[in-house]
Amino acid sequence: MASKRQDLVELSDWQLVEKCQAGDADAFQVLVSRYHQKVFMVILGLMRNRDDALEVAQETFFRAYRKIKSFQGGSSFYTWLYRIAVNNAIDAQRKQKRNPLDFHETMDGLFEARNEVARDPFADVHDRELRESMMKAINELTPEHKAVIVLRTIEGMSYKDIGEVLGCSEGTVMSRLHYARKKLQDKLSAFL
């Protein structure tokens, strides 16, 4: 069993996808272990709340599992997976907007998890304020603008790949990214 798992870990994404398509659930587990943190990060960047992001990330992998037989390899696996993740997150966020959470409640949850060793107290306060302002500024962007900046920041994706994930052209990605960065710079000017 351990040997089989070791063998699976060494396979490429596409080889694992082929095994999943043949019904190998262990291969899917390896794909989840490879991408769960990155998918979670992308979704967290798009959503307000950690618990909601976790729920959407798990649902993303569940949907990917159900759809994996239809994946033909026309794009890379992670591009396909991120497309499912972004669509799920945007859907969930639109539902949230109809039932908004208290901003401070969600931000407290986000920052409590950071267990940093105290350095300069002023620097800590500055960093904390910067992070809070960053999340606030990100949340004020539209889902489409949020998506480009999060995909670029976390995954370092090319404009072409981001376009594939979001179903838009490279030019659209470029202009959205430019706009999102400009907005963030304006909102965070006091810290930059």
């Binding site: 659930a25 587990q29 989840v32 272990s33 769960h36 943190q37 990155k38 979670f40 990060m41 967290l44 960047g45 950690r50 976790l54 990330a57 798990q58 649902e59 992998f61 569940f62 599992y65 159900r66 037989k69 239809s70 033909q72 986000l110 998890a113 950071r114 910067l130 992070r131 960053m134 999340m135 990100i138 900046i149 999060v150 670029r152 920041t153 976390i154 090319s158 404009y159 470029m174 990214l177 430019h178 960065r181 963030l184 710079q185 965070l188 810290f191 930059l192």
Partner: protein
């Protein structure tokens, strides 16, 4: 637009590695020698680092085992027998190897019914009928010719809104 403004418009694409080599080199040279543009670069890098650090810190605390348990639970729970049946049927239809079978099956069914209505070697017959569509004199006439295997559907309006001539039309057939 000044040179600095032009460069600052391109700094994001330059940092993303999305500029052509020559343009990238031009931006790099300018940024190295211009304090304002160097500051613009630093601002962008700080935004990137802050956001990345914020999300990475959260994700690094995400444990795989409970995450996978929940995904696995959904996979096991939500796949009831009828869902599995539907998925199996969908995979059959969408499978590229079997995709040709769908139009082929439709053609076979149509061919079967066509032969049933047009018996090979059977008695050759023509068929015509006229039906009224509504009460305003609009009619549909159907004419089928066995010899040429032609079907003509003719829509027309009786100017009087009456159907007295239907029987006559049936006998003589529509005038083309």
């Amino acid at each position: 637009m000044s040179q600095c403004e032009t460069i600052q418009e391109s700094i994001g694409r330059w940092l993303d590695g999305e500029l052509q080599t020559a343009d990238s080199e031009a931006v790099r040279r300018h940024v190295e020698g211009c304090p304002d543009c160097a500051a613009a670069r630093q601002r962008l890098e700080k935004i990137h680092a802050t956001l990345s650090g914020l999300l990475t810190a959260q994700a690094s605390e995400l444990e795989f085992a409970p995450f996978w348990r929940e995904v696995r639970r959904r996979i096991d729970e939500k796949r009831s027998w009828h869902e599995q049946l539907i998925e199996w049927a969908q995979s059959l239809v969408t499978s590229p190897r079997l995709a040709w079978a769908v139009p082929a099956a439709i053609m076979l069914v149509l061919g079967f019914f066509s032969l049933a209505k047009w018996p090979v070697g059977g008695q050759v017959s023509n068929y015509a009928s006229v039906e009224s569509i509504d009460t305003h004199g609009r009619n549909v006439a159907l004419l089928r010719d066995d010899k040429t295997k032609t079907t003509i559907i003719w829509l027309y309006q009786d100017p009087e809104g009456e159907n007295e001539n239907v029987e006559e039309a049936t006998k003589s057939g529509p005038a083309f």
